[in-house]
Amino acid sequence: MVGIHAFGGYVPRQRLQRNAAYAATGWFAPGLKGFAKGERAFCSWDEDAVTMAVEAARDCLAGRDRSAIARVVLASTSHPFADRQNSTIVKEALFLSDATAALDVSGSKRSATSALIDAFHAVAGGAGDTLCVAAERNVAKAGSEGEYNSGHGAASVVVSKGDGCAKLIGTHSVSIDFVDHFRKEGETFDYGWEARWVREEGYGKIVVSTIVAALEKLGIDAKKIDHFVLGSSMPKISEYVAQGSGIRPEAVADTLGGVLGDAGAAQPLILLSHILERATPGQLIMVVGFGGGCDVILLETTAAIVGAAHARGISGYLEDRAPVDNYVKYLAFSGLIDLDKGMRAELDQKPILTAQYRERKSVLGLVGGKCTQTGAVQFPKSPVSISREARAIHTQEDYPLAELPAKIVTFTADYLMFSPSPPAYYGNIEFDGGGRMLAEIVDVGEEGLEIGTQLRMVFRIKAIDDRRGFSQYFWKAVPERRLSTKS
């Protein structure tokens, strides 16, 4: 048997208030007024599918031994790089062994369910524990329906041998070139077809028939499904499909449309992760992915589901929110408006690929050094230890810092330095157990910062080189916020 042994997720902190979007664009598209309620998650300027994938994977792997992970699979239709293995960046950020396989999956909104099905098969075939991650930073045109209904987020599961907390019952897939929307290589926006056709021919026929076929194949009565997970940007579509498939209406999972939006390929895994947080043992969960065909996955929770939701999870990240009423800020963070950045932004951010490769543990993994002679911790590693006790040369062992809590030693709010999100907060920080660095601090709330403020590290975009089309990643700090739903 194979199953899901761990799960986690990530939702960016910024939440666009949909009525604010309507206040700005309603004059142009008054017909969308019905969508102007609730909020949707969107990436800060320094987040993309890779950074969200890293956060979701860290959430999923919290407290787990990472050395067991043999494969990393990343599904998205918004991979930042068309040719640079995005899943390998995730692997480096997680400081997994170099002997880890990595695979990018893309091409449709069901790429995550297909990746998960593939992970089940691979693990069953002896491929080793697979970290399956899905992340999406989909960008819709300003004033479009997609702008209201889409959202950004990521989720991750660990697939391993054994039942885990949700064992695999079976899967079923069909592939049909039903083009409800498309986006050519290099294009930013989707082009979509009439919603009524998509609803009736796509969801009503293709999805329903695939679910019916799956249930028949697996010998399961639709009424037995406890949780029905279907990600879609179309309202009420889960209820519509459930009804057509004979699934009880009360089994339909919250699609998080009002608080997150539809995170494209990542949505089925986000919703699955969200359901696993609250599922009880012995429940049947159906996960459906739709796009160029349809995937159906059937899982059954086990006794191990109790207490499995130990990290922040989707719920925790949903709670940690910053409502954004400023529509232009949303446009700026989404790259949809070109604000005057000033001359200070002209500093060339050309990536130095040789140096980045040489220093990849420091840069992508936030791995420092611990002196075996003096115990001094430092970032980054260097030939001679920072210790004042002894002149120790070449004595440092790898010392991962990313998961360690830190606190502020000094800080500033800088209005002069160019930042896409001014002021730029940065300061000297110290990790629990030693080690200091000068770090950017992001996602600072209204409560501001103080010396001693507790921080945790997050993987983000450090700089964007527009001229050569490169995102330079590094780690930043965010204030640790206590959540009401988590200890």
């Binding site: 001359m343 200070r344 001094a376 000094t410 209005y415």
Partner: protein
């Protein structure tokens, strides 16, 4: 055992261009302006100079690499011209090179030069630049106000000081420097400002407002140095000699190690201690007549009072507000207006500080002249930022003092 630099080298002449937004003048114009003044003061011919050191910090906009731009601007007869760069302490480094050359006996007369043409960037503040391949991947380039503003939060936390009290003290620092700068024809900013103006100015990096930051300007300053014997032989009777030259450079401890609380400059403390020892000063608060410190930001000047040992740790706010460092106070600080009013053409600043101490000790400071016949003048020239810096402390004084 090294005997130190005390009284081995005398200043033969100094020059300082008018600092400011010199839109119509090139770096060469500024250099010649400062050099002609120094040459006339020294009363020598350019051919008598044996070697030159040029302090310049920025490469991308400015005069370009090497010592050649200085040799060309001044048409120095083919002599060694060495360009030095050590962040904002570059001017003091040029002075150190020239003084050491004379002290070693390698040359009789040497030139220390600093020039910087920064107003060709197209924007205010210091130019943005890379800090090296590795740093750019894992560090924060930041802005100068952003780095130095962190002193304030750290200092407040260390001594439990209310925001408003520190803000008032650093505002006093700026008001005092503007009062002084108003009297200096070579200063860039010559307007007095009020406490209200300073306190209510927009933030650049909290708690530093517009008036807590020094400006960026074009400027040049230089010194011609020789041995006291040659100076006397050339007809100088009253001599200003070099008492101490100390520099300390961060090795990463503040940034990467543990223990630094962010409220002080380790290197300034190290350099000051070494300088006092070299100069034979045992009680700086009583013995120093004048200080020109690196007031890139008001808060830098405030904590530097403690780092230099003229204020007790935690006592700088009281001293500042008591007027100890005002022009008519016990030890004037920035009696020429400081970086605050001169602006900071990097390579020139360290030499501009020495220039004021030199004028004051010789009684040539005009309207700004201290009546109490200054004996020792300290200049403090800081490069970098609180967690990674180069601190230079230079003490000049009356020969024989």
């Amino acid at each position: 055992m090294a005997s130190g630099i005390r009284d081995k080298v005398a200043i033969l002449g100094m020059g300082c261009a008018k600092f400011g937004e010199r839109w119509s003048d090139s770096a060469e114009d500024l250099a010649v302006e400062a050099f002609e003044e120094a040459l006339a003061d020294a009363n020598i011919d350019v051919s008598q100079i044996g070697a030159a050191w040029l302090g310049v910090a920025f490469d991308t906009v400015n005069i370009g690499p090497s010592g050649i731009p200085l040799a060309m601007a001044l048409r120095l007869p083919n002599m060694p011209v060495t360009k030095v760069e050590n962040y904002c302490a570059s001017g003091s480094e040029a002075f150190r090179g020239a003084v050491y050359a004379v002290a070693s006996g390698a040359v009789d007369i040497a030139l220390a030069f600093g020039v910087e043409k920064l107003k060709d960037t197209g924007y205010g503040g210091l130019p943005v630049r890379t800090r090296g391949t590795n740093w750019d991947m894992v560090g924060v380039v930041g802005s100068a106000p952003g780095h130095f503003a962190q002193l304030a939060s750290a200092y407040r936390a260390k001594y439990g000081i209310e925001k408003d009290l520190l803000k008032r003290a650093i505002a006093h620092v700026s008001v005092k420097s503007h009062d002084n700068g108003a009297k200096n024809p070579k200063a860039h900013l010559r307007k007095r400002v009020t406490m209200d103006q300073v306190m209510n100015a927009p933030y650049i990096a909290e708690p530093l407002g517009l008036f807590d930051c020094c400006g960026v300007s074009d400027g040049a300053a230089c010194a011609i140095v020789t041995t006291p014997e040659i100076a006397r032989a050339l007809g100088k009777s009253e001599l200003v000699t070099v008492k101490a030259l100390a520099v300390s450079t961060s090795n990463g401890w503040e940034l990467q190690g543990s223990g630094w609380d962010g409220s002080y400059f380790l290197n300034t403390r190290v350099a000051a201690k070494a300088a006092y020892q070299e100069a034979g000063i045992t009680n700086p608060r009583e013995q120093l007549s004048l200080m020109e410190v690196h007031d890139c930001f008001s808060v830098t000047e405030l904590v530097t009072m403690e780092d230099l040992g003229v204020s007790e740790d935690g006592g700088a706010i009281k001293d500042v507000l008591d007027g100890v460092f005002d022009a008519d106070g016990k030890i004037p600080c920035q009696i020429d207006g400081g970086l605050k009013c001169f602006g900071h053409p990097i390579g020139a600043s360290g030499l501009r500080m020495i220039y004021e101490n030199y004028l004051q000790i010789l009684g040539r400071a005009g309207e700004r002249q201290r009546a109490d016949e200054p004996v020792f003048g300290l200049s403090h020239n800081l490069g970098g930022m609180p967690n990674q810096n180069v601190s230079a402390v230079v003490i000049v004084g009356r020969d024989g003092a």
